[in-house]
Symmetry: C2
Subunit: 147 residues, 2 copies
DNA sequence: ATAACTGCAAATCATTTGCAGGGGC
DNA sequence: GCCCCTGCAAATGATTTGCAGTTAT
């Protein structure tokens, strides 16, 4: 859950920057912020710009190669694992870890034992297209939306 | 879900601004943004500042009187219903509606029929305190955290 | 060749914060 | 009377974008 790609395919070019950014997201443990990716990429390509990192994280997420995690914090995080799984965030330090994919209430209990968290609750949000938008213009056009 | 209050109680004073802001959140259909609340409050109290609206939305959420919804969008939204329920967001227009509280996968199917949405997926994030933070300093002090 | 892509810097934009005065309790 | 609360304005900070030059395909 994260990249709900709607984009009309455009040729995507694998530049050194893009490749390095993808690797960085995959290599960094946890779920890096754009800045953390930037720091890491700079070790290899000292001249990349933060703007490029943002642009590529967005594109990689839309291509389904990574996940963009936008829930519950002001800073977005990225995840090299594009398959469905959920997260566990610490209210104090902001740490973000993977959570086992189970039913929410069962999982909440399991989490305390398994990972030593004190779990207060969870955020659940469904994402889709509303009837009004479905009725109006067709799927064409923009693609980049929301958030 | 939403207000995971951790705050040490401080006396909370019901000023006209705070009262009006609370009413606005309750009255506005859907799930207003801070700006929408501001607009509405201004009709009654033309001199309120946007800063005051933000401060009070935060406090009301921490008191558990409203919910602060921070998932999946750059603009936070607020919800006059403080009890547990989930949401359904449109990728195109950003509309945010209530979703029935069921198991995610069942709910996804139900949503298409019930509300006419085309549902792509869902965001699920657990929120709590990680072992490191639990180990370190006790619960004392700040209260205001994360995001 | 020709889009896509990049670096750079400036722009956005929601949200937060410092401050000095004001008003609930 | 105390301290919480307010309006105002400035600050913050993550993310985005315009532009002119570069490069992958």
């Amino acid at each position: 859950m994260g990249g709900f790609a709607l984009r009309h395919k455009r040729p995507i070019r694998m530049t050194p920057q893009r490749t390095t950014i993808l690797e960085a997201v995959r290599q960094i443990h946890g779920h890096p912020t754009a800045d953390e990716v930037y720091e890491r990429v700079r070790r290899v390509l000292p001249r990349v710009s933060l703007g490029t990192v943002y642009r590529n994280l967005e594109i990689l997420a839309q291509e389904g190669m990574i996940q963009k995690i936008e829930s519950g914090a002001s800073q977005k995080r990225y995840d090299g694992n594009p398959s469905a799984h959920h997260h566990l965030r610490c209210l104090r330090c902001g740490r973000l870890e993977d959570a086992p994919l189970k039913r929410p209430l069962e999982a909440m209990e399991a989490l305390a034992e398994t990972q030593g968290y004190e779990v207060f609750g969870f955020l659940l949000e469904f994402v889709g297209i509303c009837p009004a938008c479905l009725g109006g213009e067709d799927s064409g056009g923009n693609g980049r939306r929301s958030n």
